[in-house]
Amino acid sequence: MSKIFGIGNDIVKISRLQSSFERHGEKFLKRAFSDKEIQTFQSLSTEDNSRKWEYLAGRWSAKESIYKAIGDQERSKLNFQNIEIFNEPNGKPYVHLLEPTKSYFKNLGIDKIHIAISHDTDYAIANVMLESFNNSNNNSNGDNK
């Protein structure tokens, strides 16, 4: 038996991430993205860089969705860099939590994070559902596949 801990969604204009990056570069990236996410971002290369901004916007939107799904909690305890969003080989996104955020989620009783990300031309959107199990069965490596 499990229950829904919370749901959240977020939408962001993709060009805003481009503007922030162009203004502040790596400093901005480090404010919200993990080292691995930044590496992936840097490895993405298309002629107009559009995939790069989609990538950042989708992840920002996903992290904001998680924050909203948690509800009335302090943002300072979340640390966006500790919430990594990766993709399975088929493209499906999943969340990998790093400490201390991983323990924070566990203490709140959040056992699984369901996530979906989409983008179309100008906007990226994400939806999140947080699930609690009665019998805690956390994935030891922090993956929420």
Binding site: L17, S19, H24, F28, R31, R75, S76
Partner: protein
């Protein structure tokens, strides 16, 4: 010899106190920056942000009142870091949601330039 050694030790170990009376404005200085300078520079950063053009920014304005969201706040705080030559730890940055909180943080940061 003994007297010289004692004098040397006394000079080295004697603490130097600066009387607060010598500087009546001391309590308003933080690091090398005055409260007014911090306030003016913070307001300048926020006022020049794209989304706040034409809006009045005062020392007590919150980001929400300016219509700024979390992405705007992250952007502004990186601009503050660059302006003052500091790095705001993420936990502290996530607690800052207004002009006043930005100023208060900088007042407590002696490395701010």
């Amino acid at each position: 010899m003994i007297r010289n050694t004692f004098r040397l030790i006394s000079n080295v170990s004697r603490p130097t106190f600066v009387s607060a009376k010598q500087s009546p404005f001391m309590s308003r200085n933080y690091g090398t920056l005055s409260e007014k300078e911090i306030t003016d520079r913070v307001i300048n950063i926020i006022s020049n942000y794209d989304k706040t053009q034409g809006k009045t920014v005062t020392p007590t304005t919150t980001f929400k009142e300016l219509g700024l969201d979390s992405l705007d706040a992250a952007d502004i705080l990186v601009a503050v870091e660059e302006e003052f030559g500091i790095e705001i730890p993420d936990e502290d940055a996530d607690r800052i949601a207004s002009t006043a909180e930005t100023i208060t943080y900088l007042r407590k940061t002696p490395t701010a330039k």
